[in-house]
């Protein structure tokens, strides 16, 4: 059976555009966190603005792709899977935007000892998302390769959990911090960590979609 790219090149290109956009949002998020922690608020705001615009653009691409899938009756045997994959990818963008927005709204005060820990957490999450997006891209041309490519996604998600756990423990063991600040620090670690969880959700869907695609071949 031909790959999805071979069956519908325009659809594959649309999805590729969506993946590119998600990738940009992902990379911007890491930079935004670094700028926030370095107190470069103008830079941070500029990244947030770009993330917001890309999220709106992402929604438009997603809706357009979804309606094409159904109105033009494209790849009927896999469209449910492609739809689910696009929605899970969109959840990653939404979570990133939401987390960046939380920084902007709640302006958490991150003590210096925690700063490298948050940057490390953001980097792990961004890498995890990067791995899953690379696998998603490959799904259209070579679904057989997807399963092996997902292993670093699962490892990344576990590693993000571990790093978020480390931050939370550090916060709650710190006797100099009032409880309300501990909870605030925990909240941000939790939300950054959720980005890796969303990447794992996409990986789970990809894994099944790839098996279905290859078993049809």
């Amino acid at each position: 059976m031909p790959s999805i790219s071979e069956k519908d090149i325009t659809l594959a290109k649309k999805c590729s555009e969506f993946i590119d956009l998600t990738n940009r949002v992902n990379l911007m998020f890491c930079e935004a966190v670094k700028q926030y922690i370095c107190c470069q608020m103008n830079e941070f705001d500029s990244y947030l603005e770009q993330i917001r615009k890309l999220e709106v653009r992402g929604d438009a691409i997603r809706r357009d792709t979804e309606s094409r899938l159904y109105s033009e009756k494209l790849i009927p045997e896999s469209r449910g899977d492609v739809l689910g994959l696009i929605e899970s990818t969109d959840d990653i963008i939404d979570e990133i935007k939401k987390t960046a927005l939380l920084f902007s709204v709640e302006i958490p005060d991150i003590p210096p000892i925690f700063q490298p820990e948050y940057i490390a957490l953001a980097q792990i999450c961004v890498e995890t998302v990067d791995f899953v997006l690379a696998s998603f891209r490959v799904y259209f041309n070579n679904p057989m390769a997807v399963r092996d490519m997902l292993k670093p996604v699962y490892a990344g998600e576990k590693s993000a959990d571990k790093q978020a756990g480390k931050i939370k423990r550090l916060a709650f063991l710190d006797e100099n911090l009032p409880l309300c600040k501990k909870m605030h620090l925990r909240y941000f670690a939790h939300h950054i960590d959720l980005i890796a969880d969303k990447a794992e959700d996409l990986a789970d869907r990809l894994s099944i979609a790839a098996i279905k695609q290859t078993s049809n071949e």
């Binding site: 939370k168 409880l179 309300c180 099944i208």
Partner: protein, 215 residues
């Protein structure tokens, strides 16, 4: 009506093991909460360790079953339903682990006057889990006989809701605690209550699948 798995015995065994893991995780959760409240912190950390191992095992089993369902093209007419069911049950195991992890990380100070409330809330939530696991076993083997069991899940979930609300009211009406501590106590009540909500999510899915299979 036939068993959902028909003659796919290995799948049946793995699913049974996955459900055993779910029950075991909820039992460890109950013990863990009791140990935490009784200040048996060493034993509590051992419970946390155990639940983490169970959660990993649950993930392995779930992915294994899902891959097998699709690679071997087993029960094609119901595999989407089984897949979603497993993922929802996995959320119960994750939530059980999450609660002990949060206790371990955040070490909330829980005044003695609230201990019984937390224990009772955990007990009701775990009952909802036990009942939904029973319902799932029934669904997988005798799909038409689960109505009675589902009814019990909804009962325990509403009991958990009720106790959680009462606990939160009690916390927010005491004048001995700072607002941040009240938030912290409410957070733990909410997370224990969420366990019963996850059980209810599974029950809702089971109810739909039963209707689908009866058509």
């Amino acid at each position: 009506m036939k068993s959902l798995f028909g003659r796919t015995q290995i799948l049946e065994q793995k699913s049974a093991e996955f459900l055993d893991v779910t029950i075991e995780a909820s039992q460890v959760l109950t013990t863990g909460i009791a140990n935490y409240l009784n200040d048996n912190l060493e034993q509590f950390e051992a419970d946390f360790e155990q639940i983490s191992t169970l959660e990993n095992r649950g993930d392995e089993l779930r992915r294994d079953i899902e891959n097998q369902l699709y690679t071997e093209t087993l029960i094609p007419e119901s595999r989407g339903d089984v897949l979603a069911l497993l993922e929802n049950i996995d959320n119960i195991i994750n939530q059980s682990k999450q609660i002990l992890m949060e206790l371990s990380v955040e070490i909330p100070e829980i005044p003695a006057e609230f201990h019984t409330d937390y224990l009772q809330l955990a007990e009701k939530s775990v009952k909802a889990v036990e009942e939904v696991v029973n319902s799932t076993r029934t669904f997988l083997n005798y799909p038409m006989m689960i109505e009675h069991s589902l009814n019990k899940v909804y009962f325990w979930e509403s009991e958990a809701d009720r106790l959680s609300e009462a606990l939160k009211r009690k916390v927010f009406r005491t004048n001995k605690l700072e607002l941040s501590r009240k938030f912290h106590l409410r957070y733990f009540a909410l997370h224990i209550e969420l366990l019963a909500d996850k059980a209810e999510d599974v029950a809702d899915r089971l109810a739909i699948y039963t209707i689908k299979r009866s058509l």
